[in-house]
Symmetry: C2
Subunit: 485 residues, 2 copies
């Protein structure tokens, strides 16, 4: 999203007084206003993305009788059944009259993809105010304008002009940049990350981050929330709501635009949360939000939290068959504030009984390069029996000829299923370990392909919070895991 | 590699007095002593990896007449022709007699893969001293013992028991951990990173980091050097040599074992460079070595430097069609000490002439989401004409329906070919951009898949050095680039 440079008054203050009912995010019928047969048009891409939507779908086009095999209507008012959502992709000057029609039709949410509003200056801001006034009068809520749209993969709903659709998963992603969404979704497909919702907030003329947070808080398929924020208009209101949401579900946030140049570019807004990146990070932490510097870090964190919940404490152990990675793990743990606990005497004795004599007798546990999956499994059994002494386990495995990655991955799954402590996979390598990665993904064991990222993510979480006494990890999601824990 | 905990005197001081001739790293004939027909044996994997080696290859096995279709010999002394290298994978206790045979045969380099020497304690240290004494007497140099071996992809030489062989490329990788090599090489294949050599130093009984640095310094296929170091025995000697090498070719180093726990585990050695990570980083920088915290960072840096050389200064520009990435680029530039220059008046005017009116009129240059490859190309032309005002260009492109990634990549190649300034690719996304990534790889344009990594890498380089006046970038390597610059 463009940094907003207009001096027009922002609707932020008025916005929060009205709560958006969560039901509006589960529509039964969608009209695409500005649906088009021309592949260059945004209204073409949106309609095409919505063809898999199982609810009622109505293209609206002034001249076409039919689009993609669906009956088309000249106006939203001509549609026979009720219309919950209107996705609007007509030129900006036509949006007010379209919104009047939507009001008469009883539309509940208008996803206004069209650009040319507040982001282009004074005239656009006036047009946006007009649209908001119409919406208020008719009780329509607005996503956007000037946004990519909304994706709800579990509802098979992609109301955006994004070239691809994401997998269904446990992370709600709310972003102030459409291009960031397009890039993240494209990247998520080969990485096999999935989303419960992807929301492009656009100009936030009506609904804003606060409303989407409330939606994600109660949405049953959302297990963690990731935010990409460029500007927070109502800092106090945002922090108040995000604190409550973060108490129920983990929230991770990338805040950009905090550099000297970035701040100079962004004009000051009444009540906006100004200040350096450090100020934001401090405020986020106070609210229980986990800050991330990069999109990769944010989604690593969100996936980890969606699958494992908060760790119960900061006592960590690490297991590896490679001395080099034991040394690196020590360094990264210390650098990121993860506490490598000493091994209790009885654990030490049990390990000595089956590990080769030259194992390093320390934590991280280097169980020696000739370790096969059975040695990993025997170690895991000891750690399950003694799971009172640790909170987080990093399992580090690289490619070796002696241990089948699929076998090690299956043992990691059994390990994770038999403890409510946090188990973090660090299978490192390339093609040789893909069979193992596939199993970890299907069984929702988080895995990090760069060792430091694992310690960085866990350290970021620990600096914000651990699980409260009695607070359980999230229940395991439905998955394709073949392992009987 | 295991951290060395023995108190035995180290041969480090004596080592440096003798320079290893670089020719020993270009052998014409290799014997594998301990070659085996049994797939569980290390000597099986080594011989199999060497089957593609175009020079003379001699399996040595006490009972076999033939292995993998090659004539086998009971002893190295029975081999008819000369033997430059002996790769030794017999049990530790047999190594001294094998080394005596190698001495009589005139072997120049013994790559001793066998473990069970200094790393296991006093008895092993004594055995290692015995082996070194034999080598000195016969003028044999030693790589190892207790190492993975040596790979020279341009010579089609893989004298290791690694399960895979790396691509040929411009980076020499010298590592104190065999498992780190196995992991990095496996990871490098899908990433399409290539190596000029991969050397596992093992116990460094004779040859050590200093010798391998000297080899890489003069090796014509090496364009950058990456080191993974756990322990530096002779700190002053190492720094003296690495400073000279870094003056000729970029050197990147990951130094592990610097954490409190890691240092406690490592015993102190006479003359060893002790101290915190910060002490190492300061020493590296003084020597012109670029420090990296992670293996991913190290290879990102090495690839960038191998292809682009040092930047001529720290004046950076960034180009993107996504506002979100312009904001993030500003943040990352500031965080990593990369200076985003102001656009000169004449450049500004030229850009205004063809960019849409709502472009952000600043650096990073947001040329708006509807940019196609031609708009990128026109911008590149302006920047080539005015290349006196910048030293480093970040080109940021995500997936869009409007710009073909292959077309954008081709324009990036033309841009890079028409300037000796550093051009850094930041094509972000997943499957949608693969056609573009393929072109960048074939044309040796470095690309970063996470935006911050690009600024982090450039910032790391700038903190150590820029190109000296008159110092040219490295010449472009032979590649499969289809673009006529």
């Amino acid at each position: 999203a463009r940094i907003i440079v207009s001096d027009a008054p922002t609707p932020g203050a008025a916005r929060l007084s009205i709560q958006a009912p969560a039901e509006i995010f589960y529509p039964s019928s969608i009209a695409v206003i500005g649906a088009s047969a021309s592949p260059q048009k945004v209204g073409y891409s949106i309609l095409r993305n919505l063809l898999t939507y199982p609810g009622a779908l109505y293209p609206v086009n002034p001249t076409r009788k039919e689009l993609f095999g669906r009956e088309a209507y000249p106006s939203v008012m001509d549609i026979p059944g009720p219309v919950d959502w209107a996705v609007i992709a007509v030129p900006a000057r036509l949006v007010p009259s379209v919104m009047e029609d939507c009001g008469k039709k009883g539309v509940r949410l208008a996803v206004i993809v069209t650009a040319g509003f507040r982001e282009i200056g004074k005239d656009g801001a006036a047009l946006e105010e007009e649209v908001v006034e119409i919406a208020r009068r008719h009780g329509i809520r607005i996503t956007g304008p000037n946004c990519l749209g909304v994706m709800m993969p579990h509802q098979r709903l992609n109301a955006t002009f994004d070239p691809v659709s994401p997998r269904a998963g446990g992370v709600a992603f709310v972003s102030q940049s459409g291009a960031v969404i397009t890039t993240v979704v494209d990247w998520s497909l080969p990485e096999e990350f999935g989303f419960s919702s992807v929301i492009s907030v656009g100009n936030q003329a009506d609904l804003g981050f606060e409303h989407y947070l409330r939606f994600a808080e109660q949405d049953p398929s959302t297990r963690a929330i990731a935010l990409y924020i460029e500007e927070i208009q109502d800092g106090r209101g945002f922090m108040q709501i995000v604190r409550q949401v973060a108490d129920k579900k983990p929230v991770v946030a990338v805040k950009s635009g905090s550099s000297r140049k970035g701040m100079a570019a962004a004009s000051s807004h009444t009540g906006s949360l100004a200040g350096s990146y450090d100020v934001y990070v401090a405020a986020f932490k106070q609210a229980g939000v986990i800050p991330a510097r990069t999109l990769r870090d944010a989604f690593n964190l969100a996936e980890l939290l969606a699958n494992e919940g908060y760790p119960h404490g900061n006592r960590a152990i690490a297991i590896t068959s490679a001395g080099g990675f034991a040394v690196l793990a020590s360094d990264y743990a210390e650098a990121h504030g993860v506490d490598m606990v000493d091994l209790p005497e009885e654990v030490f004795n049990e390990l000595n009984a089956f590990l080769p004599p030259y194992w390093n007798r320390a934590n991280p546990m280097d169980i020696i390069g000739d370790a096969d999956a059975t040695r990993f499994a025997t170690l895991f059994d000891v750690l399950i029996r003694h799971q009172d002494f640790w909170d987080i386990a990093f399992v580090i495995a690289g490619p070796t000829t002696l241990a089948d990655p699929a076998h090690i991955a299956n043992e990691m799954v059994r390990f994770s299923r038999n403890t409510d402590k946090m188990v973090v996979g660090c299978m490192l390598g390339g093609d040789s370990i893909r069979s193992g990665l596939r199993i970890l993904r299907n069984c929702r064991i988080p895995n990090f392909s760069e060792l430091e990222d694992a310690f960085k993510a866990v350290g970021s979480i620990l600096r914000v919070r651990t699980a409260r006494p009695g607070e359980r990890s999230l229940p395991p999601p439905v998955d394709q895991c073949p392992v009987d824990g």
